[in-house]
Amino acid sequence: MAAVTASQLADNERALAADERRESRQLFQLAIPALVIVTILMVAPIGWLFSLSFVGEDGGLSVENFTRIVTDGAYVSIFANTFQVALLVTLVCVLLGYPVAYVLTILPDRWSRLVMLAVLVPFWTSLLVRTYAWLVLLQRRGIVNTGLDALGLIDRPLPLVHNMTGVVIGMVHIMLPFLIMPLFSSMKAIDGNLMRAAANLGSSPSHAFFRVFLPLSVPRLIAGTMMVFVMCLGFYITPALLGGGKVQMIAQRIEASLSLYPTWGPASALAVVLLALTGGFLLLSFAIVRRLTAGR
């Protein structure tokens, strides 16, 4: 057998490297269709919004759409409304979602799977179906009001829908699974031995919870909370249907601007502001989480 020369070895290596490059290229190409769809459909509309937002009513380049947002009192109250609703919904979601996620971690597998299923049912159900259900339940003579009346808790029906209350209830119902699911998966990753160790060292269960478990779950709690808040900012359907025209949020204003103004500038400017808010809060939450998890 002839000795393998150094140059043959080098040839082999080159061929293998070329093979690898070719394969890597092919694998990259697999991502191209999805990438093309996503980039074109994300970049084109958003870019279009940006360019339209700087077009004034006379068709020229101007920032009037943005100055209107800052100076017009109607817009200020819409932003205030949006933040108020988003904050309320987020707060309720955290108060209800955290305990449920925690219970999911301590329940036996069979039970936690059942609870998870209950969390997922609304997640799988059309937003419109659920909104309709809330209209039925919360109306003046709906089951919630008649139930409270039968219990003697109220004298006359509470205004539960076509107002802020209805919007918050409907939105909490939609956002809760978005908080519970990531929280649960992060809590599951917390080492149970840590809690046992705390107990061993004399800590009471609640003390162990507040000093060990809670701090460990905080980064993901903050991430989930910010996510819920950000998603709330862009809500359109629920406030439009359950708000009864009394709760105006940014998205409804964008839709209204389309018919209100002859040009698309004002609607686009609002959309750009909403995008900036969304992006800003998301970056902020990433930064906070990175800060909190640093050194772990």
Binding site: L27, V115, P122, W124, E255
Partner: protein
């Protein structure tokens, strides 16, 4: 977890959880009895029973056409999103090229963008591209929304799969494509089915974008529902809702039970 905390001490925690679960599940379920109501109102519980709202739904062109549009769009989206998403997830999982992280982020980015922004942006773009009120326009738009779900599900799916099996097949002479379809794909069939279901439901349930880019003959079911709910609440909605509920929850629940896993992306 800690043995010295009895379940009794956690009673308030379990009660709260129970109440939250009722809050989550009950509203979804009441549409079922509502749909069989005999009353021309939103009264609950219904004063009597009838099939009139189903007759209404199946008897009106408005509803049937919209349902047909939604079904076709959902099928188109399922195929496009599942194929494109699975291919991309595979490429990203197996590949070693740089930029993989960036590409992944771009592909799941539509999840983070408020639907209203995509809706209004697409409305503008479609208006000038002549895609408003077309099935093609709807399918493309819904595919954008569905791809992140496919990518996330398939990436998780590929992670649980041992890639060396494919290597073995290839070392035995199968080419990559053959190895993928005969060795890899059968083992990730549950994630693939999940992805397809998700894509279907995401498309079928999509409201915001559909409200903006579809109208008239090409209105989706969600668009017609939205208009009906906003303008006058016709109890036919209950029948539509019940049908949608069954269509959207039964397959995923079946899959969940079938695979027996509590995990979901």
């Amino acid at each position: 977890m800690e043995p010295h905390v009895s379940h009794k001490n956690r009673l308030w925690l379990y009660t709260l959880t129970g109440l939250v679960l009722v809050f989550l599940v009950l509203p979804t379920l009441i549409v079922l009895p509502m749909s069989f109501s005999s009353a021309n109102s939103l009264a609950f519980p219904p004063p009597g029973w009838s099939l009139r709202w189903y007759e209404n739904f199946f008897g009106q062109a408005k509803w049937l056409e919209a349902a047909w549009v939604s079904l076709r769009v959902a099928f188109g989206t399922t195929i496009l999103a599942t194929v494109a998403g699975t291919a991309a997830a595979y490429g990203l999982h197996v590949g070693t090229f740089s930029l993989r992280g960036t590409i992944y982020s771009v592909l799941v980015a539509p999840l983070a963008i408020p639907a209203i922004l995509l809706a209004i942006g697409m409305f503008f773009v479609y208006a000038s591209a002549g895609l408003l009120n077309t099935l093609t326009g709807l399918v493309i738009a819904h595919t954008l929304v569905a791809i992140p779900f496919v990518i996330i599900t398939m990436t998780a799916g590929f992670k649980t799969y041992d890639l060396s099996q494919e290597m073995v097949a290839r070392s035995l002479g199968a080419n990559r494509l053959y190895a993928f379809f005969t060795v890899t794909l059968p083992q990730v069939k549950f994630p693939v089915i999940s992805s397809a279901l998700l894509a279907f439901i995401v498309s079928f349930d999509e409201v915001v974008i559909s409200v903006f880019i579809s109208s008239g003959q090409q209105s989706t079911l969600t668009k017609v529902m939205f208009q009906t709910l906003r303008d006058d609440v016709d109890p036919t909605i209950a029948a539509v809702s019940a049908l949608m509920l069954v269509l959207a929850t039964v397959p995923p629940l079946a899959l969940q039970l079938l695979t027996g896993s509590g995990e979901k992306s």
